[in-house]
Symmetry: C2
Subunit: 211 residues, 2 copies
DNA sequence: CGTTATCCATACACTTTTGAATGTAAAAAT
DNA sequence: ATTTTTACATTCAAAAGTGTATGGATAACG
């Protein structure tokens, strides 16, 4: 086989990861062999074993293309006036997250992580989910604590419970949407649920139209 | 091998299913072979292939031991005074569901279904999750509609949105707890989140202690 | 009491997948 | 210009898993 240039080699690596996503979504991680991935990318297993140590290594490389921690979603907003409006910061960060998730690559990889793989090799998707979950909940707690101190939460609502509720709702919505993303848009549905929930939580809910 | 009595044969069948749960939890469905299941049950693959057609058949048999639709959780309450208190019906049904889930077998099988298996054979866990989800959401919608008609919901809260929010929160809580059930009790945490959420949703929230 | 169907172990053939070894033509380094 | 890596394809050996066929002891049945 003729040697490729550095750029070409990097491109084939990406091609392999794309093919892996395809196959993982279609048949699950465990049920797709490295040969199937290579064939779907128009190559052979030689290419796979050149770029990746094994299946787990390829899987990890695939995940590293889509990291998005909650705090980064907040930072992307870059709005200093949000310091006095923590609930609005949460809202915008979530909406920003929804927008990210509608990008095919993000959606697909997260779908694989949550719904199309189980523990294998040295990688544990459940541990990753726990990390994501606790990190999100911690960030939410920070903002709800601020909201509590600023008197923007309803008095009957403890900040930590608010954070847990919001975390659970987002996770549930996330899971549900990933299971059938073609049936609705998470930007629209998510925004509606999010706005309603935040309206229920804050001290003086603005008049939301019942429709 | 000597033939067993009918009762003994039925017992070995249960033993095999128990062993399958163990191995599925420990190593995932795809990564456990029928031989590993048989050995863990103190038998050989002959027993497995006698009682089940193949791995998918065994998997389905395992699932059939734990069905619990939301409507059944309501029926188990058997309280006719609940007709005028739909939100209380939802609350009790959820709490009843939490109690069910703390039974080891229920918890383990649902954990397998949600976190330790991917599509294989002719069974599709995602389709099952969609069924569970839509069924739960439909039941919730029924009760929130009643609550709406009875004027027990806050005016800014549309019943269908309320059902979706509640469904998402329950699903998220469910997923999170199944990932680390040893770190907290879903009966306690679930009840707290549930009560708070329902208090936020109903028209005249009772004074909840901030603590 | 004799026959048969059951319950499970054992053995065998087959497929799938993996990891490593080898080959090779061209890009890069010297 | 020569040498050395690189970027794969091809081939090979080994392991693991599956489904089936067969055997054997005995419970169940008439």
């Amino acid at each position: 086989m003729a040697r490729k240039t550095k750029a070409e080699a990097a491109a084939t690596r990406e091609t392999l990861l794309d093919a892996a996503e395809d196959m993982f979504i279609a048949h699950g991680v465990a049920r797709t062999s490295l040969d199937q991935i290579a064939r779907h990318a128009g190559m052979t297993r030689g290419a796979v074993y050149w770029h990746f140590k094994n299946k787990a290594d390829l899987f990890q490389a695939m995940l590293q293309r889509v990291r998005l921690p909650f705090e980064d979603l907040v930072k992307e907003l870059d709005d200093t006036t949000l310091d006095q409006k923590p609930l609005e910061a949460v809202r915008l960060a979530c909406i920003n997250g929804f927008a990210h998730l509608e990008q095919p690559r993000y959606r697909r990889v997260h779908s694989i992580l949550l719904h199309h793989c189980e523990t294998f090799g040295d990688i544990d998707p459940l541990a990753m989910q726990n990390e994501m979950s606790s990190e999100t909940c911690g960030a939410l707690l920070k903002y709800f604590n601020m909201a509590g101190k600023l008197g923007q939460l309803r008095p009957c609502l403890a900040p930590d419970v608010a954070a847990q509720i919001m975390q659970a709702m987002l996770a549930g919505l996330f899971h549900d949407w990933l299971r059938n993303h073609e049936s609705y848009s998470i930007r629209r549905e998510g925004a509606q649920l999010l706005d309603t929930q935040l309206a229920l939580m804050q001290r003086t809910p603005p008049p939301l139209t019942y429709r």
